[in-house]
């Protein structure tokens, strides 16, 4: 949807910093934990130490008696709780069974945090420990310890939240075993015959463990009820409307009894899309009649957040000696933790849809285990899926002696090709991105780089990978108002996490015809804003941007109508220049925007106020691709990897704000590198998390990284505002594959299990040097 403006305004395309920069760098922006209302109480939750246990008895009497404790709740105190919790949010406090270590069983509100902690020590819980299903491959077998309450259906809300794939097109059979909560199968052609005709069959199993989204600000919420039974929640959330709906459902309230005010969010990345702490905090606030604040500790976040699923993909491909693709067959296992909700079909689609396989058969299962249930994490399951398919393509090219970029390019899908679910690929920049990264001097000089490692301690290599995201869709709305001083006020409900507000302001500026300095964006809450979707799925600029665009165009049209009447001119002869509506070619005949704005606000005026409104829904996705290249050095004795250079090439359609776009590319790349090199949630055989601290859950530091190079490609989307595509998700996708490819280039070792830690690399090299080749 392109828009002609009357002249070049300062809007779309400007690389300008977010307006809240000064507040952020002076520490004046407030997050939930910074809010300190009078009478505030502090909440703490008692969590199960066992992954699977029956609750025999809970005695909260000693906790209640501690001075300074204002409320203690167990499930018995909350009649609203459903006997079978269909989602994680509904499992506010465990009723008679816990299904993951860290699951809340009781809650305390007290005058001070220290008192609340001591109160937890005084709550007695008697558990009968039950066998736990901890390994997804074992959990999916018949006879495994059951996770879900019988009859709980598969939860596809997460998949729909990301509008990732049309779920209806896949085939799903009945669950074979009690812990298989979703199944899918996509197939085309005769894969068996394809394999029979292949010269090279390659089969590997790829595994990426559960990882945490890693936002710096833990979950936090402040709850307060007023005397009429109206609940206000100040929440760190990626979607105030979604939170409101979930809390209403869980607590049996109507939605207009709740107001969710999204407070500045210190990172979400998919981990703050779903309600988590809000219901229990609201219940404590109701029980005490005071405002109650709950802030998760880092330990609680790691033990009992909503991480990304473990993904295990067994991938088998058949090709001819000349590189012709013949067949692909795969089994994907997604470990969902204790409640269903992975985007299962996304993985299946990406495995078979990125390159043109004439025959494929991809089966997927979602498996429940006694671990905290998962939620989305920035392009959910795409990094893990690309880790498999791109590693595989690289190995095939290497085995056949083909150029790895040329091999990918040759088989890469184009617009119109059918995806694995039958839907056609929309216009996309996959080819452009691949070509652009192949032109990079770091790629062109990879042979020299490798040779330069011959002396000295390190071996050197280069690797690249390509991935993409389809982009989410969600209906939304926006309003654009002309103020009596000629400025614009834009209202959306969109939580500004990725700096999208400045981009929306730029869109409004360009679409209406004023400079960005005249535009102010307000993020409303659930009482004041038009319905808004999640700040997730790379869809904020794509959908809300479109809504703002339409509302700004609507406002522009209304403005010109009023001006046309005032100037007695035709609307087609008018343009907006420097804050005035003038008749083209006759600059003396004009009226300022301020005058129009005032007219709509005057007592007894017959002129209506200018209020542009939009409420679009969307059906077309705009896929966005990213490629990443890593130039590395590996210490072959210790396995330590040094990243010398790292490049991100991404098709953004149209960079509304290049500064913001680059920030997303760099941040997503480092999350991707973390998944590639150091991050994993590690569980013991009893389902307990072994690394519940940031010492042992390793996120990359500034010392681990080089300067990241970003290259923006623009292949405009026919459906995005000014051609824009979603930006947030593609950059998290390629690094695990790129790093695995670089390590193979440097050392000869192919590692198919992430994270590619120094131990994995060193031990693989030791095994190879023994002459014993282990998979």
């Amino acid at each position: 949807m392109t828009m002609k403006t009357t002249r070049d305004v300062r809007g779309v395309g400007l690389a300008i910093p977010r307006p809240d920069g000064p507040e952020k760098v002076t520490g004046r922006v407030q997050y939930v934990a910074d809010l300190q209302p009078r009478g505030l109480l502090h909440a703490k939750l008692l969590r199960s130490p066992h992954a699977h246990a029956r609750i025999v008895r809970i005695d909260t009497s000693r906790a209640r008696a501690l001075a300074g404790v204002r409320a203690v709740l167990a499930a018995a105190d909350i009649p609203e709780l459903k006997r079978k919790a269909p989602t994680r949010a509904h499992a506010v406090l465990a009723i008679d069974r816990v299904v993951f270590a860290g699951q809340p069983v009781a809650a305390v509100a007290a005058d001070e945090l220290a008192i609340a902690e001591e109160a937890l020590d005084l709550i007695e819980v008697v558990y009968e420990v039950l066998p736990a299903a901890v390994d997804p491959l074992q959990s999916m077998q018949p006879g495994a310890p059951p996770v879900a309450d019988a009859g709980t259906e598969a939860d596809i809300r997460e998949a729909l939240a990301h509008s990732a794939v049309a779920v209806a097109k896949t085939e799903a059979g009945p669950a074979k075993a009690v812990n298989i909560s979703q199944q899918s199968r996509l197939h085309r052609g005769d894969a068996a015959q394809g394999f029979a005709q292949s010269d090279l069959v390659l089969e590997k199993t790829y595994r990426v463990p559960m990882v945490h989204q890693g936002y710096l600000e833990p979950h936090a919420v402040l709850a307060e009820w007023d005397r009429t039974g109206f609940l206000t929640l100040w929440a760190s959330t990626q979607g105030s409307f979604n939170t409101r709906s979930e809390v209403a459902d869980v607590l049996g309230l109507s939605e207009n009894q709740i107001r969710v005010i999204p407070v500045e969010c210190g990172g979400g990345f998919g981990g703050k899309i779903r309600a988590l702490c809000e219901p229990i905090t609201a219940l404590l606030a109701r029980a005490t009649g005071r405002p109650v604040r709950y802030v998760m500790t880092r330990r609680e976040e790691l033990e009992a957040g909503m991480p990304a699923p473990q993904v295990i993909i067994r991938l088998r491909t058949g090709v001819k000696r000349d590189g012709t693709l013949m067949a692909l067959e795969a089994e994907t296992v997604l470990e969902a933790g204790a409640f269903s909700g992975t985007v299962l079909t996304v993985s299946a689609v990406f495995l078979a849809s990125l390159y043109t396989w004439p025959a494929f058969d991809v089966r997927g299962v979602e498996v429940l285990t006694h671990k905290p249930s998962v939620a989305a994490y920035r392009a959910p399951v795409a990094p893990q899926t690309i880790f498999a398919i791109d590693s595989h393509m690289q190995q095939i090219a290497r085995a056949l002696g083909l150029d790895p970029v040329e091999f990918r390019r040759r088989h890469l899908i184009v617009e119109g090709d059918p995806m694995a679910n039958g839907q056609p690929w929309q216009s996309n920049g996959a080819r452009e991105v691949l070509d652009r990264i192949a032109e990079h001097p770091l790629w062109k000089s990879r042979a020299e780089w490798k040779a330069s490692g011959a002396d000295g301690r390190g071996v050197r290599g280069t690797g690249l990978a390509l991935g993409g995201w389809l982009g989410g869709l969600q209906p939304t709305g926006a309003t654009v108002r002309l103020n009596p001083d000629g400025t614009l006020s834009v209202l959306t409900g969109q939580v500004d996490i990725a700096g999208t507000n400045i981009a929306l302001a730029q869109i409004a500026a360009s679409a209406y015809g004023v400079d960005i300095e005249k535009v102010r964006i307000t993020t409303g809450d659930t009482d004041t804003a038009p319905v808004t979707g999640l700040s997730a799925g790379s869809k904020t600029v794509y959908t809300v941007g479109a809504a703002v665009l339409q509302a700004a165009q609507d406002a522009r049209g209304q403005t010109l109508e009023i001006a046309a009447a005032e100037l007695e001119a035709s609307i087609h002869d008018l343009e907006i220049v420097d804050g005035r509506v003038i008749v083209r070619g006759m600059p003396d005949r004009g009226i300022t925007l301020a005058q129009i704005g005032k007219k709509g606000n005057l007592y007894m005026s017959k002129t209506p106020p200018v209020l542009g409104v939009s409420r679009p829904a969307f059906s077309q996705q705009a896929p966005a691709f990213a490629a990443q290249l890593a130039r590395i050095e590996v210490d072959p004795e210790t396995g330590e990897v040094t990243i010398h250079d790292f490049v991100i090439v991404q098709d953004v359609g149209r960079a509304i704000n290049p500064l913001g776009v680059e920030g997303q590319m760099q941040g997503g790349a480092v999350q991707s590198l973390g998944m590639a090199l150091t991050e994993a949630l590690l569980y013991d055989g009893d389902g307990r998390l072994m690394n519940p601290s940031l010492l042992d859950y390793r996120k990359l530091t500034a010392a681990d990284l080089p300067d990241l190079e970003t290259i923006i490609v623009e292949k405009p989307s026919p459906s995005g505002p000014f051609g824009a595509r979603g930006v947030g998700e593609p950059p998290i996708i390629p690094a695990p594959a790129a790093i695995a490819n670089a390590i193979e280039d440097a050392t000869g070792a192919r590692i198919t299990e992430a994270p590619l830690t120094p131990e994995r690399i060193a031990m693989a090299l030791l095994a190879a040097s023994d002459g014993i080749v282990r998979p």
């Binding site: 220290a114 902690e117 020590d121 004795e637 601290s693 042992d696 530091t701 681990d704 131990e759």
Partner: protein
């Protein structure tokens, strides 16, 4: 954290009195970089925390007129990292201090805390062991000295009685033609904890290794001296083969466990690699 009292003694004597008064319900607080996380995780629930920040003697850093080094127990890792005298003559120790946590942690973490917390991975232990350091311990019956090689008893366990306080670490200056190096392996370059740490300290004389010390972190319940490797080196010219042999002895002496930070096999392998590397570097420095 749960609630507790704090006492803030102004001298070693006051501190000892506080320990006697509060007995096993007291925890000592220096830098807090180990204690506070333990309090927050509920691993320790003391009734009283004895804050050492006002005991000036513990912060003293004294180069003893070039004869050696006296480190107050509350000297920080950051001070050890940047002190020019320590960087010159006790390089392995400075290197170990530099690796702890991050600068925000090093400005708080103390050498005494690192030793008394007695994690197997304590970074400053191997260089101090390799320098034949002594611990000066104050108690109700006066002060006693314990060689650091006898200080560690088990995981998180030292010879300190509940009514005793580590006040100082004393090191004699290594002779001329000495060099040392500390290396550790970690998955990240900062904010991390040793998977394996190795300190080597060599003194040369007439072309042979007159004195060799090798100490390991994170591969046994306590920091570990490898006397077999030391004896293999002493009295001999430090050739490449001899160093490799010593590295092999160090790997054999290591008793690592497999845990989430590393498997036993990987740790043993790293001991060999890092011993060889630290010996080579110590040699270069001794010859310089």
């Amino acid at each position: 954290m749960r609630r507790f009292e704090v006492v803030q003694p102004g001298s070693v004597e006051e501190c000892l009195r506080a320990l006697v008064a509060h007995g096993p319900e007291a925890s000592l607080l220096a830098g807090g970089t180990d204690l506070l996380p333990q309090l927050k995780n509920g691993l320790l629930k003391p009734r009283c925390v004895v804050d050492l920040s006002r005991v000036a003697r513990l912060r003293a850093l004294d180069r003893d007129g070039g004869r050696g080094l006296r480190l107050g127990a509350a000297v920080t890792a950051r001070e050890i990292e940047v002190d020019p005298g320590i960087r010159t003559r006790y390089r392995a120790l400075a290197e170990s201090g530099a690796l702890i946590g991050s600068v925000q942690v090093r400005n708080l973490a103390t050498v005494g805390g690192n030793l008394c917390n007695a994690a197997p991975s304590a970074d400053m232990a191997p260089p101090l062991l390799a320098l034949d350091a002594e611990a000066v311990i104050a108690g109700p019956r006066g002060e006693r000295r314990v060689p650091l090689s006898a200080f560690f008893v088990g995981v998180r366990c030292t010879v300190l009685a509940p009514d005793e306080l580590l006040v100082e670490i004393v090191i004699q200056a290594p002779g001329p033609r000495s060099g040392g190096n500390y290396l550790r392996h970690t998955p990240r370059r900062e904010l991390d904890i040793a998977v394996v740490g190795v300190a080597s300290q060599l003194t040369l004389s007439n072309g042979v290794c007159a004195r060799a010390r090798i100490a390991l972190a994170a591969v046994a319940p306590t920091p570990l001296r490898v006397t077999a490797a030391e004896q293999a080196l002493e009295g001999r010219p430090p050739t490449g083969e001899l160093i490799e042999h010593a590295a092999g002895l160090a790997a054999e002496a290591a008793r690592p466990i497999s845990d989430q930070r590393g498997s036993a096999d990987f740790r043993r392998h790293l001991v060999r690699v890092l011993t060889r590397r630290t010996l080579n570097t110590a040699l270069v420095r001794a010859r310089a």
